[in-house]
Amino acid sequence: MPRFATVLFLAGFAFLLFSLTLTLGFGEPPMRAGQGVLDQAVAGTGAANAVSAVLLGFRGLDTLGELSILFAAATAGGLVLGHRRPGGDGPPAGAILQAGTRLLFPLMLVVGFYIVLHGHLTPGGGFQGGVILAAAFFLPVLAGTGAGPDHALLRVVEGLAGTVFILIGLAALWTGGVFLEPLLVDRGALHELFSAGTLPLLYLAVGLKVGAELAGLLAHMARAGGGEA
């Protein structure tokens, strides 16, 4: 009976939501805030990618919050799974896989950092790059070649990266601006790597933090619990 009620209500919900969305104007957004952001993106942040400008400039606080959420999730995950020494888990990988891993690791590292650092110019940025960095560090675990990322190191990286993000924000405060204000926006030309002031620096912090966070989470997931449920 509750299942039936749930299905009934769900059908009602879907129908009402759909009919509600039909009254929304698709394709012609009011862009009350959006247009201004587009107009100011370059002048305000120096980033060619308006999405990056929004993420790190206009709505930098959201990004900080998001990093915090990842940090919270990783911390909570660590709290739940506990801190256990990794045992030997999984069968050892074959030589080819091990070799491939060694080859792939620097490659992924490079790609990851590239994506992170070009976030203000092209699609991509700290998150996407961070994911790749995490994968790179996590690769040895998958391949079963090693212990994977060092936990202590990860903690230091994630802690410092987050702090750096905030400190860059506070730096603006101390130099007379407001929290999270982009600095040194006018240095460097548009479309160049070294442009957009502190933005790439922020993205670097984001990328490192996301990478460390996710790698930690993945490692926890892979290791803790000991495999034997």
Partner: protein, 621 residues
């Protein structure tokens, strides 16, 4: 620092002082002192005047102020008096035994002091908000006094506070409604607006206030809590509670219903056209409150509970007299507060004195104590005569005034109800005195001694008060007249011995003189002309020609008044108990259902249900 402030301050300082005094055996002897001081201060203040407090401030847009007028003064007198008696009672041997048995004298005295303070705050209320503050303080202050005894008293206390808060919430709603409808809680302001309110509004206010205050008065159907809550408490606490605590309800009723809303307005509110107005409803509630609890008292086998049940019934007389509203009726109702307080205090103190000595309050396990505890017997005798409303004690005066008013106002049915109640009172108090003091002494009570002076002293002083105010009711009627004036009622034509009225007055000086003369003649006849008495040992007696040995006890208390009980037994079906139980069951059922809600398999479904209903509500016109 006005006089009232000083009085309140002393009452407040008494809290730590009482706590400290209760701490040591020698210090305890001084426990009554603060109350004596307060009584002196009160007597110094003229009841005919209005005593303002210097304290007053504006908070939440409300002005809070305190002032003591004739009505408050009149209620303050028995309050402090009862506390004085209770403190004195507990200051000697009783207190030592209580402390020795693991009881906390400190808490007892602190709670007593807190009660007095709270009651004074209530009695000095200058507006509806301070009235409610005082009301709540009084309600809560009563709780520790009740639960001190532990055990079953805790259950009774929790039941009390649940009832009391129900009443308190009704009062709060009434206060809020007065504020919203009239824009003020200051009497002078809202009394100007009250006459313009619609009938339903006034009717609701009357219902809320009468119901709310009625809970404290234990008016039907809210009476179940009182007897165990008062009766099961420890001695001095029970005496104090029984004497005055629930009368705070009458004070508030007199203030709000009689003074603020006025009885004329009550008469205007028709409940059944041509037959019943709201004042009649109030009167009939009072009448039933007289009858039912009184006959419940008749059935009790615990002396404390018997008296406590009477307390409920006697409250009915007060309300009945008050809502009559004429000079005699209201004077009788208010006077009964004082008289009943003295009676009940004496009775409970005596019963607890007996209990102190015998260790039981069970009426079926005592008897014949008259020779062991003559002073307690005397106190109890005077108390029950007063409680039953017989001359020459003061209870007669107030009841006579109420009867007289009922007759004069043309309420024969109510008069009949009051008489029936008095009949039940007489029957049950006879049971009380008989089962405790008359009949055969039980073997285990062979070595009982009279209670110590610290306990009999307060009893005897109160007895003196009963006799004196019974003979010279004018002493109290003067104060009653001030109280009546304070709430805008007519004042009877009183003198030292009673009242005079065209329809027939009462002069207790004369009446008591005749009674005393009658007794004197009887005594002379008895002792002078052949009155033959022979003193025998209590265990050596005959009954109906049958010799009773010590093991066959002369006791017929187990089945007291069998004929009467046979006839009225059908009425004791406990329908109010059933009502209370049903209410609890309903709440229980709802609560169980709600617990079910919080124990469901998939709580997240409610997010979906809610938002879907919300969407439907928003989208569908």
């Amino acid at each position: 620092m006005t006089h009232l402030d000083l009085l309140l301050l002393v009452a407040l300082i008494n809290l730590p002082v009482a706590w400290w005094l209760a701490g040591g055996a020698t210090r305890r002897r001084l426990l009554a002192l603060p109350y004596g001081l307060m009584l002196g201060m009160l007597l110094y203040m003229d009841p005919g005047a209005t005593w303002d407090s210097g304290l007053s401030w504006v908070f939440l847009g409300q002005s809070l102020s305190w002032r003591l007028d004739g009505l408050g003064w009149f209620f303050a007198l028995p309050t402090i008096g009862a506390a004085l008696a209770a403190a004195a009672y507990s200051s000697g041997e009783w207190g030592e035994d209580f402390a020795g048995a693991g009881g906390s004298m400190g808490w007892l005295q602190l709670a007593l002091a807190a009660n007095v303070f709270a009651m004074l705050v209530l009695l000095a209320a200058g507006d509806l908000l301070t009235l409610f503050i005082g009301w709540e303080l009084v309600s809560w202050a009563g709780l520790p006094l009740m639960v001190l005894a532990g055990g079953a008293a805790v259950g009774a206390g929790i039941r009390y506070i649940t009832y009391a808060m129900g009443g308190g919430m009704a009062v709060l709603l009434g206060v809020v409604l007065v504020y919203v409808w009239t824009g003020s809680l200051v009497p002078a302001d809202f009394m100007a607006v009250l006459p313009t309110l619609a009938s339903w509004q006034v009717g609701l206010l009357v219902a809320l206030f009468f119901g709310g205050f009625g809970v404290k008065m234990a008016l039907l159907p809210f009476h179940l809590w009182q007897a165990p809550a008062y009766g099961l408490s420890v001695g001095p606490a029970a005496a104090f509670l029984g004497a005055i605590s629930s009368r705070m309800g009458l004070f508030a009723m007199a203030l709000v219903l009689v003074k603020f809303i006025t009885l004329e307005r009550l008469v205007d509110l028709t409940v059944i056209p041509g037959l019943l107005d709201s004042r009649d409803v109030l009167a009939w509630v009072a009448a039933f409150t007289i009858i039912l609890p009184t006959y419940t008292a008749l059935k009790q086998n615990d002396a404390r509970l018997l008296l406590a049940w009477h307390g409920i019934g006697q409250g009915g007389y007060m309300v009945l007299g008050l809502v009559m509203g004429d000079a005699m009726g209201s004077a009788g109702g208010l006077l009964h507060v004082f008289n009943y307080a003295t009676n009940q205090a004496v009775l409970l103190l005596a019963v607890f004195a007996v209990m102190h000595r015998t260790g039981t309050a069970d009426l079926n396990r005592m008897g014949g104590l008259i020779v062991r505890m003559p002073l307690s017997f005397l106190a109890l005798l005077i108390g029950i005569i007063g409680l039953a409303g017989l001359p020459p004690m003061n209870g007669f005066v107030s009841k006579w005034l109420v009867y007289r008013s009922l007759v004069l106002e043309g309420e024969p049915l109510l008069f009949l109800a009051a008489i029936i109640g008095t009949l039940g009172t007489i029957l049950s108090v006879y049971k009380l005195i008989h089962n405790i003091f008359l009949g055969q002494l039980r073997v285990e009570h062979e070595d009982i001694r009279e209670a110590p002076w610290s306990m009999t002293g307060p009893m005897l002083v109160l007895c003196a008060v009963i006799v004196v105010t019974g003979t010279m009711p004018g002493l109290v009627l003067g104060v009653v007249a001030d109280a009546q004036q304070a709430i805008g009622l007519a004042v009877p034509d009183y003198h030292l011995g009673g009242v005079t009225s065209p329809a027939g007055g009462l002069d207790m000086l004369w009446l008591n003189g005749v009674i005393m003369a009658g007794f004197a003649v009887g005594a002379v006849l008895f002792y002078g002309f052949g009155g033959r008495t022979k003193r025998v040992h209590q265990l050596d007696n005959y009954a109906g020609g049958h010799f009773l040995t010590a093991d066959v006890r002369y006791q017929y208390s187990d089945n007291f008044y069998p004929g009467l009980m046979h006839h009225i037994g059908g009425w004791y079906r406990g329908s109010f108990q059933w009502l209370e139980g049903a209410l609890i069951s309903v709440v229980d059922l709802l609560a169980t259902a709600l617990r079910g809600f919080y124990h469901q398999a998939q709580p997240a479904a409610w997010v979906l249900f809610t938002i879907t209903l919300g969407f439907a509500w928003a989208v569908l016109p």
